[in-house]
Symmetry: C2
Subunit: 261 residues, 2 copies
DNA sequence: CTTGCCCACTCGTCTATACGAGTATGCGTG
DNA sequence: CACGCATACTCGTATAGACGAGTGGGCAAG
């Protein structure tokens, strides 16, 4: 790495911009310009204290800004690093097309294998429970539902946590209530049960994660989540499944096709 | 407000959870339980210092966690407040259907009026410029484009910043290059120019905003942005417009319909 | 050579203090 | 009554120091 003064400038004491913001600005710019590359270690707090002649808390304040922006992450005992952008998973709008269900494996596995990643699914939990207000409304005022929870990982990194809710009168006693829903997933089973799927509705929000989401998805600070709620409708117009998904936002690009008519 | 000790507990010195995290936890829980309501003022730093018997920086650290989660926001000289959830704007997947173009006003204005909000559009800028790498690729290797920038506000609050890019051979000299594109917006103009629209492609990402985005959208800390890139294709299969939109994530829910076939 | 310990360096947490700047309230003056 | 200022209270910024804990490299003992 080049010497600090050659990368980072000095402070402008006449500026009314706070010192810790000025430092954050300089670091951010250096990162944007590629002076510090992905995964590379930034100068240590002590070095920056030395370089700028400020106190350590001021430097830490600067780092905390950049952390909030998701630009860097700190590792205890090692240093502060430029956060590498993880490979993203693209979700196409035809990902639930019937032809994708014809193969044996789940969409997630197939797709990840194709992308050269190592996919895993864990945290299996399948149980009957009371439907929350929102889920109940979406499913047409059902009281109890079958809930299927699972977590998806790519190369060991958790990227998505999803819960499917199905009305008990549809799912109880079927393979949908088994830990392994069989080839083609629950959508294939639903169609076998006579619920031919007609269309899906997806609602998308983005927000900062709750502490429990930070834990399950092992999210770095400064990484938002995409919250997707999908409702599946059969040809009779009935909502047969609601899937509530929380995704690490830095791991996903969603893609949709809209008709112009 | 009830007395502090009745709302907030004490610290657990045996816990290995950091004190400022414990304080943040208690405040978060109190907010979740509705002990502090939306828009309500939290105890001041001084009061919490008193209540917990810790130093002020520790309390501030707690607040900064909650700010990062988008739960609270601080107002200089006034206090720290529970962040109210703003009314959200729902974007339906049929929002570009041709029938919506038949009326005179823009989709944004019509929809906001219907919702009882006061819509504004500002920051008009229309100019020819060099296309960036990404835009150029999406439009099929054009070098120069017409860029239309505008910012959308609801009841005075900026919620969205959008830039449309159009190939010069289509847009130059037409009403699309005027500040006001006329009734039905640029999509109506494109169709009049013989580019019958076939479908749209939308790519969605979520991330923390850049400093400039924080400024234009007046974003509170802890609010991510939704980054939407829409490409419009005509019936000849040509990409005729790319629209790059950055939205305040707390102001939007996107909604899509997917076919199951 | 290998093992294990020590130490230097890193970030994490916390205290105590100081001053600045924005806000709101009340009181006194006109 | 109206205005303006003083003041108290709020958060913002910054310093200096202390100790803890994770990491990694080097050195010494076996």
């Amino acid at each position: 790495m080049a010497s600090l003064p050659s990368i980072l400038g000095g402070l402008d004491p006449t500026s009314d911009r706070a010192v810790f913001r000025q430092i954050a600005d300089q670091l951010r710019e250096a990162i944007d310009r590629g002076r510090f590359k992905e995964g590379e270690k930034l100068p240590s707090e002590a070095e920056l204290v030395e370089h700028y002649g400020v106190s350590r808390m001021t430097v830490r304040n600067s780092f905390s800004i950049l952390q909030g922006e998701g630009l860097v992450h700190a590792e205890h005992g090692r240093g502060v690093f430029v956060r590498p952008r993880p490979p993203v998973r693209r979700l196409a709008s035809d990902r639930f097309a019937r032809r994708h269900r014809e193969q044996g494996k789940s969409a997630f596995i197939v797709e990840a294998d194709a992308a050269g990643s190592h996919p895993t699914v864990d945290s299996l939990e399948v149980k009957e429970e009371k439907a929350g207000q929102d889920i109940s409304t979406r499913l047409g005022s059902v009281r109890r539902v079958l809930a299927r929870r699972r977590r998806y990982l790519l190369d060991g990194r958790p990227v998505e946590f999803a819960t499917s809710y199905l009305p008990l009168d549809i799912a109880r006693g079927t393979q949908i209530a088994e830990p392994n829903p069989g080839p083609g997933g629950i959508y294939a089973r639903l169609e076998e049960l006579g619920h031919q799927l007609d269309h899906f509705e997806e609602e998308i929000r983005a927000r900062m994660p709750s502490p429990s989401e930070v834990k399950t998805l092992q999210l770095a600070s400064g990484v938002p989540v995409i919250h997707l709620i999908r409702t599946a409708f059969d040809t009779a117009g009935r909502a047969v499944e609601v899937c509530d998904t929380v995704m690490a936002a830095d791991a996903y690009v969603l893609s949709y096709q809209l008709p112009a008519t």
